[in-house]
Symmetry: D4
Subunit: 167 residues, 8 copies
């Protein structure tokens, strides 16, 4: 259903897919095409560089990069492209993703990575932020985003109603 990939999703390890599925689901819901890649800044660095360097010419408009522990991947990707890069810290024992959060968000001046929350909420939000960026030139995405927000609001309203009935 999704057309030409606009979003690149890259993660450092197969196990990160469990977290990133939240991003994939959001993109599928919005009908946004994406590339999904497992490439490691530490184990397949050349592949990362090649993929990131050619992202713009392949037509990607935004990149979502996720990693855990000493999470270099988002920054390494951001260093190779001027496309906006969004980072998702993967939670992992023993530090629960605090290491990944600091490794991703504390980028030095000049090479930004827009960082989302640790874990699945962050992965879903990376996709939503990417869609928000794409929406600037796609009115139908703006409409869908507003509907998504309304649906989320409705869930709260229903929970609110049900908690009041129960009382």
């Amino acid at each position: 259903m999704a057309d030409r990939p606009l979003v690149g999703i890259v993660m450092g390890s197969k196990t990160d897919l469990e977290t990133l599925q939240s991003a994939v689901d959001v993109l599928n819901d919005f009908g946004i095409g994406y590339e999904l890649r497992i490439l490691s800044a530490h184990r397949t660095p050349e592949k990362v560089l090649e993929w990131a360097r050619t992202a713009e010419e392949r037509g990607l408009q935004i990149i979502i990069a996720a990693a855990g522990l000493a999470a270099a991947l988002p920054g390494v990707v951001a260093a190779q492209t001027i496309l906006p890069v969004l980072g998702v810290p993967i939670p992992a024992a023993p530090l629960a993703g605090v290491d990944a959060l600091l490794s991703i968000v504390q980028m030095p001046k000049g090479v930004p990575v827009g960082t989302l929350a640790i874990g699945k909420a962050g992965a879903a939000n990376a996709a939503l932020l990417a869609i928000g960026m794409l929406a600037s030139s796609r009115p139908e995405l703006r409409k869908k985003l507003k509907e998504f927000r309304e649906k989320r609001a409705d869930e709260v309203l229903q929970a609110d109603a049900s908690v009041q009935r129960k009382k």
Copy 2:
């Protein structure tokens, strides 16, 4: 020199301007028009809501929101607009901005804030990430971004050369 504002910059307090000047400087360097506002999620909440809600119709395409301590502003702005919101944690004693970082980055699923590093590096990077987003439909910005990257790389190369000469 800058035309119609495309980026909205909002901060919670006048003292945050010292940090955000880095963002302003970058936008000026790239010739990107911006709105610069001091609006507080806790002291002038209605102003924040009105400003955020009407941001899209005023033609803004991206919002940079900065706050310190219990930094609600970026999330509150993000709740009112589908425009991409980037958050900058302001460092402040006694917790050095860790409180602001967690208050901004740990957004729940559904309302993303792309978070940058604590302080000036983060502020500059928020502007650069905003420009990266705007660049998708503005080839001249892509060119400028690449030149900016090259200049930064040159600075490193010169430092590298000078350190080798000195040895």
Copy 3:
């Protein structure tokens, strides 16, 4: 048994109810009427504002606001009312509520949120603190509070007695 609501309890998500039940139980035990609402600072911001802004005229005297992660709700509520606002950080993976604690307690000068412990103990204590506030003009609540304290003390004394018998 409870008359006109004096305490407003608001939480950001249905799942927070598990934590806040401790507050509800305490209010029920003391016969204090309350409003119980699920309203999200990030997903239903207008509802939050409207509810908080009209809290005083509806006769509420204290508000208990609970949220997890980037917990903006207590501060956003406090920005809309001069009623005393008590905040309860909800524990949630991966940061165990430290993010929520800092997001709630580190409010800037001018808009206070009296913050309780992370989780169920904090929720129960928010209710007890609210009752302590209401008690200033309600002698029967003062009596009940003292009885509650005595009961809690008795539990300790019995545990103390049993541990000494066992030895």
Copy 4:
């Protein structure tokens, strides 16, 4: 100008006065009478107990307790009275008040301390929260609180105006 003390302010050490002056100033501005005491949970424990135990009969309605390091004072006071107790963590090297924050906010179920931010902002907010509590039966305080909020909002608006002019 202030009449009979309604608020008790207690701190563990003379040096804490620098932080608590923010609370004193707010109470003076609102014309609220207060007791100001230096009493230490660890050095003059009996004085603390006697003062806290008799607070209610002396007509105090709220207590603000501040301490640094292993900050036992607020909890020890709260254990002796059913009056609402607000806690202010004093920042002190080497842990910047994180020790005091956790020592005050993490009270066990049954004995609440409503905790404010570390340092001066927290001290001022403790006074404002106390006034918010007193205001429930004092319409003139509600009016003053609203005026205070408006003044604070005006400061933001003026800063906002000045930053826009300068641009």
Copy 5:
């Protein structure tokens, strides 16, 4: 088998007994008499004070005090007696005992609490440190302590031997 109590063990809650059993076991192994009490700094403060104030005249020589969360008990006990007080932080969700550790160890100048590790290792070590103190005037305890150390060393040596055999 144990004679007149020399060590007082006090904890804030019945559930702390699970942790403190390690201290009790060590004291039993060394034949040291002890008082075991559940007394809460926040729920039965007078009992704590009375018990601590009279500890010296009852013949106690050392006190072990354990508590979790905002762990005021060890410091409050230390404020009432010149007997040496050892503190054991009880681990408890959500902060794993870090709150208790800081609440116990960061005592201000003048009222020391010798703090041990969080949890069972700390509880056992509090008992061993108490025995080390008692041993200064009890040669038989010095002998037993040395035997205890040797037994612990033997366990390591056996583990070492077994791991080398296995290889």
Copy 6:
């Protein structure tokens, strides 16, 4: 004025003396003899072992060991003697003594180190706790400790009086 050394004070580096002077001052005030040594667990390990191993036969009754960073000294000393060992974490950039605190307090089961607060307050308290231990067989020390406590209480009372006069 001090007779035969009863307390051994050992630190890892000359710069730690600034912190430990607080312990020395307290011991001098109480007329307790002490050994003062600079011995490093990492740079002069044999000297540490020899000193610790012979401490008991030299008549020492308690050891105060202080170190910063990866603070192994207190534990290494405790491993060589059954004398009670008290540990003082030295604050040092960049981690403000948190590294030293955890390196000292988190000792495994079997080898206790009674840990005091980070820095000068902890150093003074180590001396006071040592005196409390020595006092069990020295009535004159008990008297002096009580006088010390009273003097500290008087300081608080005077501060309290002065703050009330000023008001």
Copy 7:
């Protein structure tokens, strides 16, 4: 299959073996001989010193030392030998190995311990780093290391391929 031990592995407790098995497995895979010892800096300090002091003359070229909590072992070993020492922090409740990490990595100037990640990844990497050191004079190890890297890269490539097929 492995010849004369070149690597010494030492851990403080039998339970650490579960973590260190990752190091053992790597050394076995590369055919590197090793000594495997359980020796405790706090319970068998003399054994540690003797083992470390004689390591060089026994022909060991690198030492891997692992410990949890107040993890003194790696530093104590490093103080006794000029052989390179690599440290592995063992994760253990309640602080998840943060205590061990700081106790190992924050060594003072003069006695280095090259520290790896907390837990199994760190243990495996300690072995790989040791092999990297040995490889400088062993071309066949260089070849094996490169093959190991390629195998790891292949795993990523296969995961990448499989995730693209599935999509």
Copy 8:
């Protein structure tokens, strides 16, 4: 005096040189040749890769890589070479190097970075650890390392002597 470079030192920014001078000084003292480079993982990634990839063939035997904030450099270098890589976290506001420490030490399985302490002590120790590695095939370095250790021990002994004289 130094012959062919055996150690590569690389840092991400000119300002890091202040910290790394400690490493340079140690290498100079030991007469070890080194390459000193400023190359940024985020600003000149290709230069980093090329430099790291060719390090082995240029005759380097060990690499010391230092970086601050989201410190990707050491890991990125380690991914390109099988030479041993030692990492030095550079302290920088606002997080004092904790971000850099976690970004460097928490490397995933397969690509080790031996991490030293934050700041100058860590930089000096990286050089010493590198020399320890080189010493396995260079007896004169072993001798020098032992002399270095003795000199450091002598400094402690002299400080110890001076502190005892003064008393």
